[in-house]
Subunit: 337 residues, 2 copies
DNA sequence: GAGGATTGCTTAAACTATTTTGCATTTATC
DNA sequence: GATAAATGCAAAATAGTTTAAGCAATCCTC
């Protein structure tokens, strides 16, 4: 019992396929199809429960009504929250989302772009990894809408939505300094991405502005694919070799979570003598005792901006000369707890 | 600068489209295409960077190499973790995932299935809502692979992967009873889904087995779309009207999180005199002071089972008589903290 | 009042990029 | 010179959209 095709509808209504197509696509008026025919066809569509085959449609029209979402890890709360918000808005415009996780691996990222290309997704939303600049440039050359977010790729002229990570890093560090911290460790992920770099630069700048300098010994770079155990070991070394540390700034949400577990495991209390700040406002940080101060990213705004840019480009006449790229940088908000 | 099509390759190699197609699909041997031709064509494919148009391919072959994932809310850590694990395995077999969130709304769920149908996804992974039985039955009638998970739809003969929620509810409740709790409240979501019902039944059974009965006053059903404020108000009423409560069992992860925030806000301590258990092992529960005991679902196993079933059905010869449906129920694990 | 344009409706055929079936041609073998 | 093997292609099919054209009746113009 195959689902009916447009041909079945046409046959049953005793009109041509074209006529059905016009009616389906709201061109009945323009093509001056009689009210009776429209009614008859629509009734038959109802009756047989006909739904146009989107694949055939895509082949002919060249658009799939699908947006490709490429992130670092869809199970990271930051990305899944973004995914959820984007999905909602896209859905209202008839777009579906296809997602993939890169694990910060440029090879995989490139493969994913290839895969999405062959699937002819209409637009791309990408949390990029360095090393895929050329692939993105390629997309742009084909005039396919692209927005990158979370991180920028500085030498690429592309729409982006990021937050001011330098400011974010600065505010977190300054907070700690004002709380009298003298030895602020910086724990980060060992990936050369723009947003992480900026968080570090903000940290560095805040230190300098207050007459301090970053200490190479208390800067820990943890590989993205490090296990929890591995992470713990590195943190252990950090604290053993640098007992003077009186605060830690974690540059990513998941590292901060691991850090909290680690501190709990070694029973190091977080208090007036030892402070923590994290990136991203998540439940864990609010619920922790004591609560953890964080640099909060405006997730709703980020998602909204992304999808607005995408939908706007999708609806724009692509034959016209391209308008300016949208370059959006949103402020972070430091939440003191 | 459009990407090249198979036609361009054929023209450049001075062979027919058919030949290129055979080479692309590894049928060159079988179709006795000469080594030289194969080599020449492959070189040109390389040179022009040709990637077959998956849309055209799908139209012709009838499969899209896409799996539709329909969950309650992709930003819920339980679902996003599942999504991530499924994605990995599917990707290795050349499948992509398209996702959507139902918000427990049967109307939206039905629309999503329709949308996926018109997009001709090859298989469905669904965390179902009551009211979509008929739509799923329809899919099954068309012999499309479907796995439902998280919740079962009892009157449907379909593959499913669930956990033993009755046992889960039982173990959590029994733990509290053994800890000497006399008045255990049950806070749940007001949706008639199988897994939530079973958690309640487990709770009820444990009470009965220990000579107690569920108290209707300490059973709180919170609408799925309730705001946090709304949730707080309901919890406030619960505790004000039932000061005798000495434990709460939250039937879902997000309600437990809200509950913890609420308890924090009214400064009600969690200790030997007042205990909490939650569903799903999440960071928040582990990091909380004191740590919260939970009913842990084996997420990796769930994801693995789901995708195994799907991939197996996708690779099976659909013309053959259908083999038995897979009905998987995995054990939960109570983690005492 | 003859020829062309317009109107209102409908349709045949082309097009999208690929797979697949059945057939055609060439070359080698005896 | 017939047969078989080797090699490759034409054309149909997939399910839609879109273009250009057809038809009959009416209107316009010189």
């Amino acid at each position: 019992m195959k689902p009916p095709s447009i041909k079945d509808i046409a046959k049953r209504a005793e009109v041509s396929i074209t006529t059905v197509s016009f009616i389906l696509n709201g061109k009945a008026e323009k093509m001056r199809i009689s009210k009776e025919v429209i009614k008859r066809v629509e009734e038959i569509i109802q009756e047989l429960g006909f739904k146009p085959n989107q694949v055939a449609r895509s082949l002919r029209t060249g658009n799939t009504k699908t947006i490709g979402l490429i992130v670092e890890d869809i199970s990271n709360p930051f990305f899944s929250a973004i995914a959820r918000l984007i999905e909602d808005k896209a859905y209202k415009k008839g777009y579906k989302i296809s997602y993939s996780s890169t694990e910060n691996d440029p090879v995989k990222a490139r493969e994913l772009i290839e895969m999405f290309k062959s699937r002819k997704v209409d637009a791309y939303i990408i949390a990029p990894v360095p090393g895929i600049e050329e692939d993105i440039r390629q997309l742009l050359a084909e005039r396919i809408p692209v927005v990158i977010f979370d991180r920028n790729l500085p030498d690429l002229d592309v729409n982006y939505v990021v937050v001011d990570n330098l400011e974010g890093g600065y505010s977190a560090t300054e907070f700690l300094i004002k709380k009298g911290r003298k030895n602020i460790a910086f724990v980060t992920v060992d990936v050369e991405v723009d947003q992480i770099n900026n968080r570090f630069l903000g940290y560095q700048k805040a230190l300098r502005d207050h007459g301090m300098t970053a200490n190479a010994h208390t800067l820990v770079k943890i590989p993205f694919d490090a296990t929890e155990e591995d992470t713990n070991n590195r943190l252990k070394v950090l604290f053993e070799e640098n007992p003077q540390i009186d605060a830690v700034f974690f540059s990513t949400n998941y590292l901060a979570v691991r850090g909290l577990f680690f501190l709990k495991s070694i029973q190091k209390p977080i208090n007036d003598g030892f402070m923590i700040v994290a990136y991203d406002d998540q439940d864990v940080f609010r619920i922790h005792t004591p609560p953890i101060s964080v640099v909060d990213q405006p997730i709703e705004q980020i998602a909204e901006k992304i999808i607005d840019i995408i939908l706007q480009e999708l609806s724009a006449d692509r034959s016209l000369p391209q308008s300016e790229r949208s370059k959006v940088s949103l402020p972070t908000r430091f939440i003191e707890r």
